[in-house]
Amino acid sequence: MLNLKVLIILLVSFSQAEFFCQEETDLSNSSLLILRRGANMGNKRKPGKLITETDDIVQFKVFDARDTLFVNKRYVKKIYYSDEIYLFERKKFQYKNAYLFNFSWGMSSNHGSLQASFTKRFPSHLELGLGTAFSNVSFEIPIVGDNPIWVSVSSLPLYGVVKYHINEGKRLYYLKGKVGISNNLKPFNADQISNGYMWEAGLGFQLGGGRKVRHYFELSQYSTYAKGHLALADINNAPADVSFNRTFYRIVFTYGIELGKK
């Protein structure tokens, strides 16, 4: 438990260093124009204000430039519109309103998971979506007279995700929750396993990025349930019959990446 609290303190200290010191230029309602190779207009990534956009031409006022650009659309790779992103200095941004893919790896004591989710982020700071994972949690049943019985429950959970973003900063802080079914897979030494619920709730922060990939870190409380039956033969060739039901609680550290619009 002490280690867990130390981990939380370190995570919070690390994340707060920039949180309370961020100096952000007012870039609200700004867009980011990404040009193709061959555009011959200097830097390919231009923050600024979108003035007009037609089928052929984009009129764009670049920050720190005197003139307005008129760019033929064939040189425009993509535009991150002001209603899609929060733009920050050094052309970094966070999505404000977008469809997003998330891939992450979580770990804790006798538990690990690989997760994937698809979400929609709304300007209201809310993000909703669906996800799945390959998750494993294990535990030991002590017995006297043979090796302890290890039970390793893998699952392919299906869940809904909800995130609430606390701020609109370049480092984005959020609360996150998941609820779903565990969809347990039968352990190799079990002949029965039931399905159960799973939930996870926690806190995380996401680093801003200038490209479509963002990195995030989370600390969360995870819980899942499994009920099963094992029929084993121990070293003395006597049958062992084991029934268990277990609600697992784990504090999970997660690293993930978020993929936005192409």
Binding site: F139, D146, D234
Partner: protein, 420 residues
Amino acid sequence: MKTNFLIAVSFLFLLSSCVKDKGSVTMTYNKGTAVYADLDAVRSKTLIGTTRQINDPGKIFIDENMLLIGEEDEGIHVYDNTNPASPVNVSFIQLPFCKEFYVENNMIYAESQYDFVKIDITNLSLPTLVNRVEFAFGDAIFDHNGNVLVGFDYAVVTESFDFGSAEELALRESSNLFYNSKGNLIPESSVPSSFTGNSESIKGTLNKITVNNNYVYVVGDSKLYTFYDAPNQMNLVNETDISLGLETIYPEGNNLYLGTQTSMIVVDASNPSSPEYTSEYEHPTSCDPVLPNGNVAYLTLRTADFSGCNGDENTVEVLDISDVNNPEPLNSYTVSSPYGMNIINNYLFVGEGNNGLTIFDISNPQFLAFQTTLSNVTVYDIMPHPTDPSIILTTGDNGLVQYNIDYATLTLTELSSINY
């Protein structure tokens, strides 16, 4: 913003107390209950006891006129085998907690829980304890009354507990006690009963004890124990860490061949008091003895028959050991469930438990020529009679059987059996 963040952090601190799993287990299994005894009383038990029925046989030794059959945890049955067609139970040597013994030059070398003992059986009617090396294999575990843990009684029980409860903690402590005690003992063999050897120096392949050049070697779970063996004394002179999962030992020349669950290990005993690891041939996890034969060694890998062996191979491997520093695989032969083996009359006999007895011609030692599998017998181990080459002995589920063997047809005719 700062307030929101601090609320969120506080929320996480609250959650961090929820890490204990909840739920329960109900299980039925063969539970061991610790048994404690007065070790002095155990050690002072007289050697000669009355004859009794064989219940749980272990190691077996055959002399020209005598059979010794180990009774697990109790001692050794003595049979007069002057007439192989009708062996007679004549006495019992009491050796509490003995599972492994070895016989050479009228001496029994046996482990007895924490101790290693040497017994002179020159006069079988009056065996005498020559030496006892106390706590040779580790320290004893005592209970609150000063008694020593001497084993576990097993009984099938059904018990339930909640995760994190006092019952689970108590069970975990007992489980730890079980493992701590096993760490100080010679592990139990995965083969129900097997031969130590015969009086003509043909050794069994499933031994954990052997004698070579006035030194006695014993394999523990991970250590090789070396005892100096003088006529009237025996001393522990070395403990060598080798590898986890040691199972069997077989001496050949100045080398000791150790079978482990994951490899064959060659140990150089040219300095007999200080054996040294020489080389290793790794194989998939399984139970296995080793039988060197000149420039080759036969290695059986067994996983079948639910005998506590992991893996998925059941083979006889032929290894080139002409360079003991670099054993190389030559050939591999699939069998059903190999246990002990022996070379008799230019044939390799492989006991296959409930799957019978498989015989290979080894005229060319590198290539095993399959002859037959006698599937109507249960055989864990094989040993030739010391003086009559037409008799072989086998151990099986139902007892020790003596057969006449016809080498021309490779058929067996039962002479007698000692059922257990």
